[in-house]
């Protein structure tokens, strides 16, 4: 597997709860018990589902939120506690860190509010949570049904396919296995690989695009030429040929391959954006103050690009999922059960298309993929609001 793990594990739960003690402790210290307990719960959940990485990220986020409540907000201007904005030149390293955490926490709270405010976006968010939750926690409750069940053959039926019934709510597949268990166990791989692919592609595109625009000259010309070249070759056929060259023992390579082919479109857009941002007054001011390239890119240019980048990352995840399912469906990737794509492939091979009893075997993963992608698209609307600095400052 790649760098993301999403399996509910007991060690993960323990790590998560341990992480959760940090926001809880800080919450107790600053009399914010309510948010400390929320932090503990969220950390436990994140650690339970995503292991160390999830637990740690959630630790930072929830701690920031708790600290931000300990600082003064616009809503509560008369408390004696220090303000986030107030810069004190004699503050210690710790105080500086606290202030930064508080600022981060405030941003997170505003983002959550923006997320909930957009109805369609929130619906998408819930949809994504639903599918991730099912993939992560489903296996705890539903056992994977991987054996052939000849005994489930209905009298008078020629195949083991079965329509949805009260016992098997999504019916049985060609080997008489429970489709519902396949749905629960089969989404994880696909979702994680797509997310990885989208993340890598976006990262490459942003880094290369920003580099090309900021450095300029020959580097810019070469990078742009490479991007234009990759854009010329039709993607899916190319992926088809490449997929048969590299036989993927590991899905992570597939994510990598997708990223290698799909970065140019976003890279060109990022390059154009950075080129235009570079001429803005505030960036010129930062250049004149000699604040250094990292500062200019991270503090001045990137925040203005963030909403664009994040939205494109979601689109990238979406098309990664499309391509991966497409490759599996054409039988070019080693088949690993359980997997939604493999269900479509095998279902078609076993004639589920022409068998009205077997339609569930193809329809279930197809509908799940459609709903997941729809959730992603809806979610982008919230993300636009969350990451657009102009919309956010109005809060």
């Amino acid at each position: 597997m790649g760098f993301l793990i999403a399996v509910a594990t007991i060690p993960g739960l323990i790590i998560g709860i341990l992480c959760g003690f940090v926001p809880l402790g800080i919450g107790l210290r600053y009399q914010q018990l309510k948010w400390g307990i929320v932090g503990l719960a969220l950390c436990g959940l994140a650690g339970f589902s995503f292991g160390l990485i999830g637990g740690f990220i959630m630790l930072v986020l929830t701690t920031a939120v708790v600290i931000s409540y300990a600082f003064v907000d616009r809503e509560d201007p008369f408390t004696s506690r220090a303000s986030i904005e107030a810069v004190n030149f004699e503050e210690s390293q710790l105080e500086f860190l606290m202030r930064q955490m508080a600022a981060l926490g405030r941003t997170i709270r505003q983002s959550v509010r923006a997320l909930i405010r957009n109805k369609a976006g929130f619906l998408g968010f819930i949809g994504i949570l639903f599918f991730v939750g099912i993939s992560v926690f489903g296996p705890l409750f539903i056992e994977y049904d991987g054996d052939t069940h000849v005994e489930r053959l209905q009298p008078g039926a020629r195949t083991l396919f079965q329509k949805p019934s009260s016992e098997f709510i999504l019916g049985l597949d060609w080997k008489g296995r429970d489709i519902f268990s396949h749905m629960v166990h089969g989404g994880q791989n696909l979702i994680i690989t797509s997310i990885e692919a989208g993340l890598i592609a976006t990262l490459v595109a942003v880094v290369v695009g920003a580099m090309a625009a900021m450095i300029g000259g020959v580097v810019d010309q070469i990078l742009s030429a490479i991007a234009n070249f990759i854009l010329t070759i039709p993607q899916f056929p190319l992926l088809l040929v490449l997929a048969s060259i590299l036989s993927f023992s590991n899905r992570f390579y597939l994510a990598f391959l997708f990223a290698a082919l799909s970065w140019p479109a976003l890279m060109r857009a990022v390059r154009a954006q950075v080129l235009s941002l570079r001429e803005r007054d505030y960036v010129q001011a930062a250049v004149a103050l000699d604040l250094g390239l990292p500062h200019i890119i991270i503090r001045e240019v990137l925040p203005n690009l963030m909403s664009y980048i994040v939205v494109n990352m979601i689109f990238s995840i979406r098309s990664a999922m499309y391509y991966i399912v497409g490759l599996v469906f054409l039988g070019l990737v080693p088949l690993e059960e359980p997997d939604w794509g493999v269900m479509i492939y095998v279902g078609r091979q076993q004639g589920a298309i022409f068998n009205s009893d077997g339609a569930s075997m193809i329809l279930s993963p197809v509908v799940a993929i459609a709903l997941f992608q729809l959730s992603l698209i809806l979610f982008t609307r919230s993300l636009e609001e969350v990451f657009n600095p102009r919309l956010r400052s109005g809060l």
């Binding site: 010329t232 039709p234 993929i369 459609a370 992608q373």
Partner: protein, 364 residues
């Protein structure tokens, strides 16, 4: 012609010689947009060809091995028997040095010859492409055309009546259409429409045409042609119309806010003239470029959709040939599709200059 008094022999001639003229001409040609773009395009295609040439030959197994495998399993031959049988079938030598194969291929390519297919009885690749290309062009082209027209009209209407129930319903539909991948729509049509609800007999609608009907310009043949193209086209339209609608809507909304629209209203022009002459034409501008670019990707079609509906287009053919490792055919299809993309990109640029007078003025 007498002697010219003040001319020194070691100085170049003051009047333009052939050399300096041709140099100036060359510079003018080099500066011209079309020339530069054409050279760039040819260069791109050369790199594409070279890269795919290398990649395709790096695929595990070669056409001989695949065929030997097939004979071994199908006719129960030993490896040696199968090998001798296959050797007679193909005129492809997998042991020839890579460079030699490459120079041979490029030599033929420069003369406009795409080579001969390895696995299908030495038919020329160009002939094979010409056989499958029209199917893809027909299906995807029709789908693109229909979805573009519907998207234009619906998008403009959505922008005009924005905020109404009509707009909300259509935007929701467009988001769904945009969000759902095309193969999902294909399966839904087949499984729900064809199998569960039994609206139509699936067998009558997939594949190419009825083999019993003679090809030609007769009503039955055309009817059968349209019948079999119906499902792929419906899928393409449903999958892509949403994107067109949303783009057209946002483009129209931004056009409606332009000053010249307000001026047109102030001048008392009729609503119809403003809508068609001022808003519509300007809102369509950015979409025309996108259309030209999508036309380039028509050729590569949609492998998955053609595969689901067993439609005999270029995409499905490419997939089959990839399985058989027919090097020359894969190569040819890649070249043709990339060329289509390159050409359509150039056309998109030129088209924009023609359609938008502002670009023309600005470049001079």
């Amino acid at each position: 012609m007498g002697a010219i008094p003040f001319r020194r022999t070691d100085q170049p001639v003051s009047q333009p010689s052939l050399w300096s003229l041709s140099k100036r001409l060359l510079r003018a040609v080099y500066r011209s947009y079309i020339f530069r773009v054409t050279v760039q395009g040819i260069l791109t295609l050369w790199v594409v060809t070279t890269c795919t040439f290398y990649m395709i030959r790096k695929m595990p197994n070669n056409p001989i091995e695949v065929k030997i495998d097939e004979f071994q399993t199908k006719q129960n031959l030993t490896y040696e028997e199968a090998r001798s049988k296959v050797a007679g079938l193909f005129d492809y030598d997998p042991d020839a040095p890579f460079i030699e194969q490459y120079t041979d291929y490029m030599g033929n390519l420069v003369q406009g010859d795409l080579g001969r297919s390895i696995t299908t009885g030495r038919t020329p690749v160009s002939q094979q492409i010409a056989k499958y290309l029209p199917w893809t062009l027909f299906a995807v082209g029709l789908g693109l055309l229909i979805s573009f027209v519907i998207g234009m009209i619906a998008g403009a209407a959505m922008a005009y009546w924005r905020g109404t129930v009509f707009d909300n319903v259509m935007t929701a539909f467009a988001s769904i259409s945009y969000g759902i991948p095309d193969f999902v729509i294909a399966f839904m049509i087949l499984l729900i429409g064809g199998i569960q609800l039994e609206l139509f007999q699936v067998g009558d609608y997939i594949g190419s045409v009825d083999p019993e009907i003679k090809a030609g310009f007769n009503p039955e043949y055309i009817r059968s042609l349209l019948q079999h193209v119906l499902l792929p086209v419906t899928t393409y339209v449903l999958a892509s119309v949403g994107g067109w609608m949303l783009t057209m809507k946002s483009s129209t909304i931004s056009t409606l806010g332009e000053d010249y629209i307000t001026v047109a209203h102030a001048r008392g022009l009729s609503q119809r003239r403003i809508l068609f002459g001022y808003v519509g034409r300007n809102a369509m501008l950015p979409l025309m470029t996108r259309l030209a670019i999508s036309v380039g990707f028509v050729l590569s079609g949609s492998i998955i959709i053609e595969y689901i509906f067993i439609y005999p287009g270029l995409g499905k053919y490419l997939f089959e040939m990839t399985g058989k490792r027919d090097y020359t055919t894969i190569q040819g299809i890649f070249l043709v599709t990339s060329a289509a993309v390159v050409i359509s990109n150039i056309l998109a640029d030129l088209l924009y200059g023609v359609l938008d007078p502002r670009v023309r003025v600005g470049s001079k």
